[in-house]
Amino acid sequence: MDKAWQPACKLESLHLRARVLHEIRRFFAERAVLEVETPLLCHGTGTDPQLDFFTTAYCLPPLRQALFLQTSPEFAMKRLLAAGSGSIYQICKAFRNGESGRFHNPEFTILEWYRLGFSLPRLMDEITELVAVLFAGKGLKPAQRISYQAVFQQYTGLDPLVFSCRDYGAYAVDKHIPEAVELCGDDHAIWLDFIFSHKVQPYLGSNALCLVYGYPACQSSLARLNAQNPKITDRVELFINGVELGNGFYELTDAVEQDRRFNEEISIRQQRRLPAPFKDKHLVAALAAGLPDCSGIAIGLDRLLMLLSGSASINEVLAFPVDRA
């Protein structure tokens, strides 16, 4: 019998989701952070070469134009910040083409928030508090904070900030991932992605929240370079039980620098023959008008629900994953 009309998740999972949404809203209400909504359907797209967008056709005779489903609400939220919204948060859908797997559904739910005047460490405090609220009674151990460089060295013995094709290659061969040599070539960023996702991430946050900060500069398009060490950025990633949960930045506010990074990413997309992005002019203009000093973070809510319910696959927390949508 065809059961595809039924939800993929159990009904308890719907209740868990509702409870988590309620707790998040209460958490931010208590802190006077404003809930906002921004469009899912936009004229511009992100330029990140690692993210693929969905293109839709908007028909308003006689016009027919392409609109894009947003891969993250970041740009629109930054426009609100530049317009003087103050600290804001949003719970919304985001869309990433071609992403499907145990931890990925092409349509998923994001919790994203921005805090005016927050440094990255202060944002990490707030993330830790929110996770403590949501995981209350789950017996999580105290949160850990460690720099990318330290954690990378701890698990691999390699320095992520000093690229040596020979050392990285020798490590890969020694650790039975020799295919990395050909796959990564002389691309430092891909080497880091490969080694980190295979040999570091699985061990992060064993029954605890692990905050990894200070990502290498070659890995972050929207974060600020660290004031003391320009080889790293003020970026943080969250892990629990080896699952990547979210990514935050001390936000880049320099419009000229942002435009330069956009153009760099667009040229990478061209080299890789990826669909041409449409640079968000409004964001560049908003940054020119002035983005206040702030930190922001996006958390994948579905993965958070996976961890809360002990689910092995994202399908276990979605009513209708893409194959049933």
Binding site: G98, G101, D193, H198, S220
Partner: protein, 189 residues
């Protein structure tokens, strides 16, 4: 042969890797939020049976392998080769011991089994999940002893040895699971 991209990878897909035919067991999409997407794939080499893990850049592609599983009847052993036949077409194939491997311990003349063909040549032989075979050698057990723990080894007519309960006697036909090598039940003639 068709070419498969990583996003078409799924369990059971047969692909060529390092010039050997392989089957995908598991495919995991790994993507750091801000980084390169990979597919970490568990693969069985169909020639050696070895399972390896290999990571590909998402979007990469591999050539498919012309590998099919065909149900065949096992005919006989000529000393060097074992011979198999496809029932519908009467087409016959031969495979040496290296290819038949441990399956030979369960193969009885006229029984059906699965022969994996690569480019129309036998690559591996898998016996049926359940077989019924006579016991040719086992110690006489104590009748009436039905205690769980014990059991004794029994050699079957095809050469496999399985543990059977003490009450099962030489000459009896039993049903066994070839995947685990375990006794299931006696078979009433």
């Amino acid at each position: 042969m068709a070419v498969y991209s990583t996003n078409e990878f799924k369990a059971g897909l047969k692909i060529m890797l390092d010039n050997d035919p392989c089957a995908i067991i598991e495919n995991e999409f790994v993507k750091p939020g801000k980084g390169q997407a990979f597919n970490r794939v568990k693969i069985r080499n169909l020639k050696t049976g070895r399972v390896i893990e290999r990571t590909f850049k998402s979007g990469e592609s591999l050539e498919g392998a012309d590998v099919v599983d065909v149900e065949m009847q096992y005919l006989y052993n000529d000393g060097e080769y074992r011979h198999f036949m496809v029932q519908d077409t009467f087409e016959q194939y031969q495979a040496d011991q290296k290819i038949v491997g441990d399956a030979s311990l369960w193969l009885k003349d006229q029984d059906f089994c699965t022969v994996t063909l690569w480019n129309d040549a036998p690559l591996a032989v898998t016996p049926a999940n359940f077989v019924e075979l006579a016991i040719v050698e086992t110690d006489p057990g104590v009748r009436g002893d039905t205690s769980g723990g014990g059991g004794k080894p029994a050699k079957l007519e095809t050469g496999a040895v399985v543990r059977v309960p003490l009450f099962v006697q030489q000459g009896e036909v039993i049903k066994a699971d070839t995947r685990t090598g375990e006794y299931i039940s006696r078979v009433k003639e």
